[in-house]
């Protein structure tokens, strides 16, 4: 017997029902020690106001951001200079004092500049933080004026380095 069955899909009913599904994720942020200069004066003129062999002086301002590790973290700002050149002042006659805000400890007293090692300007301990907008400090230079220096213009490059762990 032959039987044909006609199947007819007469209606597809669309049921409009709101559906929602959620999934969670753990968002992790790792914050590490960081440090940077935001500004360092590109030139510092060492000047003096008299002509009686008093010392030259000048100030190098700088701004920085720093964050050191909570545990055993340290940080530093150091400076190393180059020689002034033939006939000019001796680096041995160049020294500086430091200023820094509470985020760091400025060099304790007059510090001799060096061409061979980086010397401390500011030290930082564990869990040190500058302001979000940066902190400011400075190196105040003093250069002895010796009679043996030939007249003229001399320059030395001072390289400031900041680091944090």
């Amino acid at each position: 017997m032959k039987r044909n069955m006609l199947l007819s899909i007469a209606t597809a009913v669309l049921a409009i029902t709101p559906a929602a599904f959620g999934n969670d994720s753990t968002l992790g942020i790792t914050v590490g020690p960081e440090a940077t200069f935001t500004t360092v004066a590109s030139t510092t003129a060492l000047t003096k106001s008299d002509t009686t062999f008093a010392a030259y002086s000048g100030t190098t301002p700088f701004s920085y951001k720093i964050r050191t590790s909570q545990s055993n973290g340290t940080g530093s700002i150091t400076v190393q200079v180059t020689t002034f050149g033939t006939g000019g002042p001796a680096v041995a006659d160049l020294a500086y004092t430091c200023t820094a805000p509470s985020s760091g400890i400025p060099c304790s007293s007059s510090t001799a500049a060096s061409t061979t090692v980086a010397t401390s300007v500011v030290g930082f301990g564990a869990d040190a933080h500058s302001a979000d907008t940066a902190d400011s400090g400075s190196a105040v230079w003093t250069l002895q004026d010796r009679t043996g220096i030939k007249t003229g213009d001399y320059s030395s490059t001072a390289t400031f380095t900041i680091s944090a762990t």
């Binding site: 899909i9 007469a10 559906a19 599904f21 959620g22 999934n23 753990t26 020690p33 964050r67 933080h129």
Partner: protein, 169 residues
């Protein structure tokens, strides 16, 4: 004794019957998504030169009605723990490359108090199989998250839970 012989035709009489059956298919709006269980944001350097950033892909399957639509949203379920680091409100994100629907426009900011948009699904949207649905299955959208890298944050790892929700109608 009478005998009856029942004669049967050698061939059956043609018997064609037509019946109509109504079948209904309840096609409901549908949505499902998948996100990594862990997403990490970190600095790309050590000089505050960039934000704390990371990205990840949200995979989703969706079907919306012809008169409906839908959305994928995200909300912070908790603040970052421990304290001393970023807040949920400091995290922003961009949505790019949504393969179904429209990714969020511009920079969005995470919040614990409200759901913020990731993808908006149009009516008649559906995942996979090609026209009129998408060719991709699952559909995906790339989220790029970032948080400002502020010096006052204490070093360490902070975590918070965020919840993605897909709603379809």
């Amino acid at each position: 004794m009478l005998g009856f012989i029942l004669l049967l035709p050698l061939e059956g009489v043609g018997d064609i019957r037509t019946t109509t059956q109504t079948m209904t298919a309840n096609i409901s709006p549908y949505g499902k998504l998948s996100v990594p269980s862990n997403v990490s944001l970190r600095s790309s350097g050590t000089r505050f030169e960039g934000s704390l950033a990371g990205n990840f892909t949200v995979s989703y399957w969706a079907r919306t009605s012809d008169v409906g639509g839908g959305s994928i949203t995200v909300q912070g379920s908790s603040e970052f723990s421990p304290a001393g680091g970023p807040s949920i409100g400091s995290v922003t994100y961009l949505c790019s490359g949504a393969t179904l629907g429209i990714g969020c426009s511009g920079s969005q900011t995470l919040a614990t108090s409200t759901q913020t948009p990731v993808v908006t699904l149009q009516s008649g949207a559906c995942t996979g199989g090609g026209s009129p649905c998408s060719t991709q299955e699952p559909n995906t959208v790339l989220l790029t998250l970032s948080s400002q890298n502020k010096p006052h944050y204490k070093t360490g790892t902070y975590s918070a839970q965020i919840t993605f929700t897909i709603s379809t109608l």
